[in-house]
Symmetry: C2
Subunit: 107 residues, 2 copies
Amino acid sequence: MNIQFKKGVLELCVLSILEKKDCYGYELVNNISKSFSISEGTIYPLLSRLRKEGYVTTYLEESQEGPTRKYYVLTKTGRNILEDLKAEWYSFTKAVNQILKGSEAYE
Amino acid sequence: MNIQFKKGVLELCVLSILEKKDCYGYELVNNISKSFSISEGTIYPLLSRLRKEGYVTTYLEESQEGPTRKYYVLTKTGRNILEDLKAEWYSFTKAVNQILKGSEAYE
DNA sequence: ATTAGGTACCTTGCAATACAATATACCATG
DNA sequence: CATGGTATATTGTATTGCAAGGTACCTAAT
């Protein structure tokens, strides 16, 4: 898996998953890992950044299976950013796919 | 335009364009700029790297409109890399789109 | 009780890459 | 001869993903 493809896209994925339900870091790693490889050393700094930027807030909850979980919740700002990122992602991939296909076909 | 989305994808785009015809750096910048913003300071180091890795070779050709152009040609190795990158790109974007759509729909 | 393995958090140092800014130099037009 | 477009290239900075490591909780087997 090309590491570079992931740059910036991970943020989009995390926000998109949090849109559906609150998650803790370890859960996000396992969830996203089903789609493509991702490590904890990537997620935790990313989550800290998202919180610092006000895209998410957190709350703690105890677990019977291990240490306390820190759940992340999407804020209103985070929701807006997510919409922007999604739109950018779709238009970007469309542009790339046009280049890959020879770019004769412009709709 | 999210800078991070471009990471690594630019290499794919450049190789894909070179697959169709030989290009010089400045031409690639103008060509790709039609799809998304890209600067010269990004392309030239990238092209040097591609040459160092044996994905492209170069030849010089004079121009009436300005300084000598350095044309880049895809090698056999470059062609193979391009095929790999394309496949990775398609499978990666598919995975991301599944996450964005809620990932209930697995085909 | 001690060990092992799974769960869960976090930090540090490193690598890759895109960009702005800058530099050089050619050519044509005013 | 100055401006603007063409064309190449380098330097320093910022961002982000990862491997490796550390802390700590819980359960089950030894």
